[in-house]
Amino acid sequence: MSEPRLQPTTDHQVQTGGHAVRTIDLWKTYPQEPEPVHAVRGVSLEIARGEFLAMAGPSGSGKTTLLNMLGGLTRPTRGEIWIADRELAQLSDKALARLRLESIGFVFQAYNLLPVLTALENAEFSLLLRGVPKEERRRKVEELFVKIGMDGMENRRPGRLSGGQQQRVAVARAVVGEPALVLADEPTANLDSHASDDLLEVMEGLNRDLGITFVFATHDPRVMERAHRLIRLVDGAIVSDERR
């Protein structure tokens, strides 16, 4: 087995002054009768590159909304989000799509692999969109698959993989492009305890070895235990920020 060649980059560290993400007084308000709902209230946050951070809180506490805003999937009502030296509110939809492609990886609760693609094709999809040559794509994905214990399953379609295996492919898809940030929304919620532990092991390894920044939105105590930093949200606001 060859040594993994994926290496942490420092490009965006220079651009963001060492922060993977920075938010300033972030609000998300949904107009609703009789009163508007504030899903996120004035969140100001700095996430350094290489952090392994969990955001926890009860349902409706705003953690998924905050995660979606960090990923540029939802635009904030007010406030600023800085990723890779760019303020998201200033970006067009096209530029935002480009930023997601180049700087952000997503891991979803329901895996959300593209059913028409094989495990390898799913994992390399963002590289494909970025025009990375085939040989380089295949090499990166194969190295990554060895690292996450998915080697030998490259040609399987999602329907022929277990939940844990699908989520590993989703993690590979999120990190293969060496993004500044990986956002994971309840990544273990559909997995049994054994598969959850395995997946967290994989992500911790990627964080440790490659310096990839992970931000989780989670209910899972296992994720909270492993997180190096735990932010608790209640009613859309940060109530505690604990570093370990």
Partner: protein
Amino acid sequence: MSAAGTRPREGLRLGIILRLSLRNVLRYARRSTLTASAMVLGLALLIMSRTLADGAHESWIDQGVQLGTGHVALQALGYQQNRSLDNRLDEGALATVLAALDDPEVEPSVVMAAPRIAVSGLASSAGSAIPILILGVDPDVEPAFSLLDDKLVEGRYLESGDRLSAYVGIGLVERLGIHLGSRFVLTAQDADGEIQGQLVRVAGIFRTGVPDLDEGIIHLALATTQRWLNAPGAVTTVAVLLQSSRTTPPVIRTLERTLPADQVEVLSWREASPELDAAVKIDDLGDWVFHIITLAIIALAILNAILMAVLNRKREFGVLQALGLTGRETGVVVLLEGVMLSLLSGGLGVLLGLGVTWALWRDGLDMSFLMDEELTFSGTLFDPVMVPEFRLATIFLSLALIITIGVLASLYPARQATRIDVAEAMKFDR
């Protein structure tokens, strides 16, 4: 080269989108099959219907021109407005006309040409007198041109050397109270403007089922007619039968170019038989109204199928956008799926339509069980056996229509795909 530093090219992304669309079409086989079925069946139906309609119309035209003045009528200038012998083609003009028909651009399309004298006159017996159209025809040429000799019910058609023989319709025989072998008198104005009478004998009786023909037309030998009406060597019309009605326009263009416009008028069957032309056009219009209704139903079926698919695949499209595709590109994925399905369905629909039509009805679809008696209209007969006519232009038009409809029906779902709220689409409880 670092992956983070690579910039995608637009062409490359389109290639990826194309590949993704193709995989989606193949992967969702059941949905693709159902959507394609509507297009395949619709196109097959359209082709079957059009080929039969085109065949029926060609049959009407064939019958009409063979009972009338052919695909092209060459007449003396003014004859169409004033059907008197003053407006006739004399021997010299007739020779010019016949020479024009030997033109290399025209001759291959011409089946035959029949010179005729046609004058209005009166048929009189002891009991009655009836206005009729007297046609002086060449007995050697006319049987191969006209359908009238096939409609013989008693006696015989005109023969070479006949002088006073007349071939008359059964309606005229009944109205004049005469029978086979009876003699009766024809009266008409001759070339000098004088009223002339001619005694003739019934040599044959025909029945077409078309009242205007059965009661109103008589065939006489051309030589007898010319002599009787003091117009030796002259004719009023040269009726030209072509290989197909579709060759009429180019033949007319050539004849108009080669014949002297101050002597000879060139008329198409559409001008010579405006009622037949109108009948074909009206029937064609009715067919297209039916086709458009059918196509609209197909379009709604396609729209529904693709839209439902888009709504069911919101999460998938959300993932694509989360991974870096733009909303517009996501819409292109859906649109390309529609385009691919349309192209595939188009090919299959043409094969099915042509195959079924050829297999079942290449010798004709017999509709006679729907008719108690012969149907006539616009001075011609309706042939109850519809023989399909396969025209490349019709097939391409049908194909283009169904593909256009498939693509148009994909536009709205594609637009919906561009508008997906990604965060909403990714919610797990959806």
